[in-house]
């Protein structure tokens, strides 16, 4: 698809407000910088141009038909001769939303450098990672990529490309602002709408295709993985990745670049089971830290930024994990998305359900005790009271959990259980004071489990196992639900008694 | 409607016994010598008085009067002979059959010549409205006030060269003139004989009409080159009403509103005031301009000698729309607001709502609340003729601590009034010290505003007001508490439902 899309900059020397204007120059871009955000569909474009001005009022027209530029964001800065050249106002002509005029008063003739800055949508970037773990899952090679997509309808050639890691707040979508019709140009806009919508639909398709392709091609890097230095710099709550040199960001031509390539990242595997997702199966996670790599003696290794962790946060993105056997055969372990990881924090990448560690949970016993009926009365109407009974009783369940590790190495496991009443826990810290209380609740006795027991919140309890290969663990615990004032009513003898 | 629609035709009977619609001779078509409109603004009614000179011949004269396509009330039409009353008599008034827009007067004359007559009737469709333009100075302490009256004529009739009088006040009308005007024939019977003539008044009227005519003629001779002052408006009280008479004559054209200056006063002392009240939400300040409808005073405090047109306190101010501007020193105007004002009696204060003011802000926070002094009390209630029931109600005190942050973003000093509403009868600890009933065990809202450095005014049982004079850019943080003493609150506790016989 071809677009007559380049934002045009026309310089006019206005003799009278609407008299004939002289086109003076059509300056080209001297330099372009793209700052692309990944949390929102927004890219900041900075262009530097050299304007030739004459003394007096200069009118400069800037137009951007068929692009996705947000007209409210366009900003004009004079970079030199600021004392002699003034921006008077910015005028948006009637009925159009793809052009504006700057009125500049100049006290000089000559060239002045200006910066034009605006937001556009349609350019995005994404991070993705390929991790290759060694066979005993203690170390991993990690390669990070960034991928830039341009569906903005505009070619940015020879541009400096910068990527922002972070979640900015955007109160209105740039694409909406770009499409918003000019206040009085309703008819004009209706005519254009069809064409634009087709463009957006096509864009969406393209992005979807890209995603699919990404998933399929997995690690066979047929894309152009050029090694370019990526400079990483913190800025407020974000990080900016600056790609060294200049790039041509062409319309609908995705670009993929290596953002980091780190070898020998210390890795641990952890297996978690939780009632929050069914409590049937263990899920395997790879854990590693976004920290600078250490050498054998515990000192920070002297590595270039591109080959080290802990230099910048890891942007969220897709992670594909492989495991490399001693014979260098690869096995695909899984793919998952990861969240943003701050410097110093731990990454926990879900590798998927793991069937090598099994959990069988049995209710070994259950019993009801301490049944007491208490009589209550309730007023029915103005003359009668009804007497009825509610029950108090304690219901105890004895669970046995049998956990077997089929892994050839030591593994760490975490089990989280949910109880349906407020938990009173007898765990690693001894019997609580309230253990014999008569209040309703779930009285969980995990004290025989040889682990620290952690109370996560009112209903969740966690325990930890360090498992040797082939060993079977049997964990037994007990929960007593103290039920109080339980209906339906008993002894509703249906006799009514007069008030008194 | 182009053609004039009121027609007066004098018919001379050859034979007085001839039938009413027999052959008649058209004698004259007298024109209006003078017209006076008295326009009321409370009801759609205007009294029209026309003076005409009839040329009569001895014998029976038949005069036809018709008013097609107008809004004249046929029942109100009155005919009076102003001179030669001894020689000329109105015999009867006849409404022709099938028509509601014409009548005939039969006159017996003992003379030949011109006689002045007055025709008086009510019409609807002519109304007037007052409106005002106030232009305050930059400091908002003085205002130029121009009052206008706007006369609207939708009656279908052109009244040229008319004296215009406007009545301020409410009159009672049992039937709408517009209804009477459109009522189909046969019309209702003509009302009783006209009120006793007042020859002096008539003469005065005539003389005045003639003097105006003379003045007009002389001005015409001057080619209209004479400088006109703004028209004077004479204001006089009349029973419960006020009558404004506009100097000179005006053409009151159909469907062409006309706006005339009724007063033009400079340097009216003005005070802006900003009010916030819970009666309208209690969120925003509303700005009001205050001035008095009193004669202006000079610097020494003596009444200024000004013409009635240029002074306040000469008449009530009729209700109408007020548009307020403020004028900067460079004569630029800023529109401040427009609002309707009510009738303002002489001597009263006018308070014109200028609209919401966003320069002064109020942030009210409920900082804390607490419940104290909970006591349960046993009561008994008689249930029927034989039994009493025992039950408990509770008493408790609920305290709310409020903080009000008021900021003035005005460039000048400003006077503020804040009125708060409390949901129970207020016992106030305000500027006058702790009241005697402060510790009483009686239900109510105990409002403690004594820390506010202002006079605290108790408006009524539920409303309390305080006053602030702020400087530009000043911020106030005021704290007050209210303790609602709740007494005897249900639902019932400890309803043992035991019934006990009456003793």
């Amino acid at each position: 698809m071809k677009y007559a899309s380049t934002p045009l900059l026309l310089l006019m020397l206005a003799t009278a407000a609407f008299a004939s204007v002289d086109l003076v120059t059509l300056p080209t871009r001297e330099g372009t910088q793209l700052t692309i955000y990944n949390s929102e569909d927004i890219t900041m474009v900075r262009e530097h141009r050299l304007l030739t001005v004459k003394p007096g009022i200069n009118r400069i027209q800037f137009s951007w038909a068929n692009t996705l530029i947000d007209p409210t964001s366009i900003d004009f800065r004079i970079l030199d001769h600021v004392d002699q050249v003034d921006l008077l106002d910015t005028t948006f002509p009637s009925g159009r939303n793809d052009a504006l005029q700057w009125n500049i008063r100049s006290g000089m003739a000559g060239k002045i450098p200006v910066e034009i800055r605006y937001f556009t949508s349609g350019i995005t970037w994404k991070a993705d990672y390929v991790g290759m773990a060694n066979s005993d899952e203690t170390e991993m090679g990690l390669t990070g990529y960034v991928r830039v997509y341009n569906n903005s309808g505009e070619l940015y050639d020879n541009a400096q490309v910068r990527l922002v890691v972070g979640t900015i707040n955007l109160v209105e979508k740039i694409a909406d602002l770009a499409r918003r019709p000019a206040p009085t140009g309703e008819i004009l806009q209706k005519f254009r709408k069809g064409k634009k919508q087709a463009l957006y639909a096509e864009m969406d398709m393209l992005v979807a295709d890209e995603g699919a392709a990404l998933f399929e091609c997995a690690a066979d890097d047929d894309l152009d993985d050029r090694r370019k230095q990526v400079k990483k710099q913190g800025l407020s709550e974000y990080f900016i990745f600056t790609i060294a040199g200049r790039e041509d960001i062409k319309h609908q031509e995705p670009k993929r670049l290596v953002s980091m390539d780190v070898a020998d990242v210390p890795l641990t595997a952890i297996y978690k089971l939780t009632d929050r997702d069914g409590g049937q199966r263990f899920t395997k996670y790879y854990r590693f830290k976004n920290k600078k790599l250490l050498d054998k003696r515990g000192k920070e290794q002297d590595l270039p930024d591109m080959e080290n962790l802990g230099v910048s946060p890891l942007p969220d993105g897709m992670v594909r994990l492989f495991s490399e056997y001693a014979n260098r055969d690869l096995a695909y372990v899984g793919g998952t998305s990861t969240k943003y990881v701050p410097i110093g924090d731990r990454v926990e990448v879900s590798v998927g359900a793991d069937t090598d560690i099994t959990m069988i949970r049995r209710v070994k016993d259950q019993g009801i005790s301490n049944v007491i009926a208490r009589q209550y009365k309730r007023r029915l109407d103005d003359e009668w009271v009804l007497y009825y009974d509610l029950l108090d009783y304690d219901e105890t369940f004895v669970y046995e959990e049998e956990i077997v590790s089929g892994k050839p190495m030591d593994v760490e496991a975490e089990i989280e259980r949910r109880f349906n009443a407020n938990v009173i826990l007898w765990g690693s810290e001894g019997k609580p004071k309230d253990w014999n209380s008569n209040e309703a609740g779930a009285y969980v006795d995990l004290h025989e489990v040889e682990s620290r027991i952690e109370k996560v919140d009112q209903n969740h309890v966690k325990y930890f196992l360090d498992m040797k290969p082939g060993r079977k663990w049997t964990v037994t615990y007990k929960v007593t639900y103290k039920r109080r004032k339980v209906g339906p009513e008993l002894n509703t003898a249906k006799h009514r008694e007069s008030l008194r | 409607m182009k053609a004039r629609s009121i027609a007066l035709i004098v018919l001379l009977f050859a034979n007085s016994t001839m039938s009413l619609f027999g052959a008649v001779d058209l004698v004259t078509l007298p024109r209006r010598e003078g017209t006076q409109l008295t326009i009321y603004n409370s009801e759609d009614i205007t009294m029209v008085r026309e003076h005409r000179l009839l040329t009569v011949k001895p014998g029976i004269n038949r005069i036809q009067f018709s008013w097609a396509n107008t809004l004249i009330d046929p029942t109100s039409i009155d005919f009076r002979i102003l001179d030669h009353v001894d020689k000329v008599d109105l015999l009867d008034t006849t409404f022709p059959s099938g028509r509601n827009d014409a009548l005939q007067w039969n006159i017996r004359s003992g003379m030949a010549g011109k006689i002045p007559v007055e025709i008086r009737y009510f019409t609807s469709g002519i109304t007037w409205k007052a409106d005002y333009v106030g232009i305050a100075n930059q400091g908002e302490d003085k205002m130029g006030l121009t009052g206008y009256v706007r006369v609207l004529n939708n009656s279908g009739e052109l009244y040229d060269n008319a004296e215009v009088r406007l009545v301020v006040g409410n009159i009672n009308l049992v039937e709408k003139i517009a209804d009477l005007a459109s009522r189909p024939p046969p019309g209702v019977p003509y009302p009783a004989a006209p009120p006793a003539a007042k020859p002096a008044m008539r003469r005065a009227f005539l003389e005045k009409a003639e003097s105006y005519s003379r003045a007009r003629e002389s001005r015409m001779l001057n080619g209209g080159m004479k400088q006109d002052k703004a028209k004077d408006v004479r204001k006089q009280g009349l029973s419960e009403y006020f009558l404004f008479t506009i100097e000179g004559r005006e053409d009151i054209k159909n469907k062409e509103p006309k706006r005339l200056v009724s007063m033009k006063i400079t340097d009216v002392p003005l005070a802006p005031i900003y009010k916030l009240t819970d009666r309208d939400g209690g969120q925003f300040f509303t700005k009001y301009y205050r001035f008095k409808n009193k004669k202006l005073l000079d610097d020494a405090g003596a009444e200024k000698k000004l013409s009635a047109m240029e002074n306040l306190g000469e008449s009530p101010l009729p209700d109408g729309m007020v548009r307020l501007f403020s004028e900067y020193d460079n004569q630029d105007l800023a529109y401040v607001g427009g609002t309707a004002t009510k009738y303002v009696p002489i001597g009263d204060r006018v308070e014109v709502n200028v609209g919401r003011d966003s320069d002064i802000t109020m942030m009210r926070r409920l900082k804390d609340q607490r419940i104290e002094n909970v006591v349960s009390r046993q009561y008994k209630r008689r249930i029927d003729d034989h039994w009493v029931m025992y039950y408990d109600h509770i008493d408790y005190d609920e305290t709310f601590v409020y903080e009000e942050e008021i900021v003035s973003g005005k460039a000048v000093d400003a006077k503020l009034e804040v009125e708060r509403r409390f949901a129970k009868d207020v016992t106030l600890w305000g500027s006058e010290g702790k009241p005697r009933g402060w510790d009483a065990d009686i239900a109510g809202a105990y409002v403690d505003m004594h820390e506010i450095e202002s006079r605290i005014e108790k408006v009524d049982q539920n409303h309390v007001k305080y006053f602030l004079d702020t400087r530009p850019g000043q911020r106030w943080v005021l704290t007050y508490t209210v303790t609602y003493k709740h007494r005897n609150v249900g639902p019932e506790l400890n309803q043992e439902k035991r019934r006990e016989p009456l003793r």
Binding site: A17, T35, S39, M44, D75, G95, E115, Q160, R162, V164, G166, T167, I168, N169, Q233, L235, E237, P342, D345, Y376, K377, Y387, N422, D434, S437, K455, V456, D457, Q458, F464 | D131, I135, Y148, R216, R219, G224, Q227, D228, K229, A230, E250, K255, E256, P257, R259, L260, V261, D332, Y335, T361, K367, D368, I371, V374, S376, R377, D392, V407, L493, N494
Partner: protein
Amino acid sequence: MKRIVITGLVGALVGMLSIPAQARIKLTTLPERETVRVDIKNGRFTLVEEERTVNLQQGRNQVDFSWANIGIDKDSIVFRVIKADGDVNVLNTNYPNNENALYWTVSAANAGPAVIRISYLIGNMSASASYQGIVENDEKSLLLQTYMTVQNTSGEDFGKCTVQPGVGKTTVRYFKNGERKRMLASKFTAVPIEKRFVFDPTVDQKRTRMYYRLLNDKENNMGEFPLPRGKVRLFIKEPKSDDDSVRSQAFLGEDWGAYTPLFAKLDLYVGVAQDVKVERFTMQPKGGPRKVVDELTCPRILMNGERTVTHPRFRHQRTRFRYRLQNFKTANGEPIPVPLTIQEHVDGEWIIENVEMKEILGERNDVTEKVIPHDKMFLAKRIDVNNVEFEIDLPPTTIKKKYDLFVTILRKHRRHNVEPIVYKD
């Protein structure tokens, strides 16, 4: 094409005589507008003032004023004589039927030019504010620029005119119907920023947000006028790099700036602070299930005056939250503390009953917990009865060192249904 037409008519005769409308006298002057001022009070009205010079004849003059395609509030028109030789009076104003026109009958003491100013209200002009903030690299202060965008849909093409859009004042050379103009209306330099990290579970359960707080007062280099509502776009100055001749500015984020009166604070949500993590859990009160509510007693006064004790319909309810706090924020590669604000929303009568800060060291089975003094790093601020803020100076954390903050809120005097009364026998 001028759409507002003003015509001066000189009455040769007039006087008290009626002149038929059709027979208006010849048009003698058609004065140009000299200055025009457009004062936009947004959402309410727009006042246009124009000055013209009319050549008046001695005696009565008829001045016509007509317009097309523009919504003028007829009743709002004010006619003022700014400069004239001798007295000039408006005798009356006439509104011809069904016309966008009126004429004044003006009497002049002397013949000659008179400068008149006509002011009137029109519809369909609007102005909106937007802001650009350029934040210093250290995020301690910013330059705040107010832009006003004025839209002319009035139907009228204005030539050179002064536009006052509520804030600021600009003279433009032309302003055609349908156009919008954006102009710089004000500039505040070196406005101090308070950077805040805010966790509010009612807004976002998972993420901490970064806010800038500005104060609209003189001390903070603002306080000139209440800030109108508008979008604020924030850019940050980057450290100067070698290959960039002009310092780069990165986009930080945007937010709607609320209408901000003088002395009031303006909070701007800039973006997510992903390095500061807060997780919130609801825990049981420290004393176990029996401490969920505090039953209250009150004196009971019987009919016979005897004093006993009973349960009123109030009781206190206790809520305990655990906040897991982690801070991975770095500056120049070094971990740094951050000021964290946790917002909770309560209602009615309440107190913060208990606060406990625990340092959690280690992981899994090797965890040690230690209660640490919190008075230096924790402050509970009651904003009003519905809002409380916990301000925490959060030191840096690592994977093996975290903080747990426990806060117990006692909500007092909550109404509850009276329990069934146990039958005692």
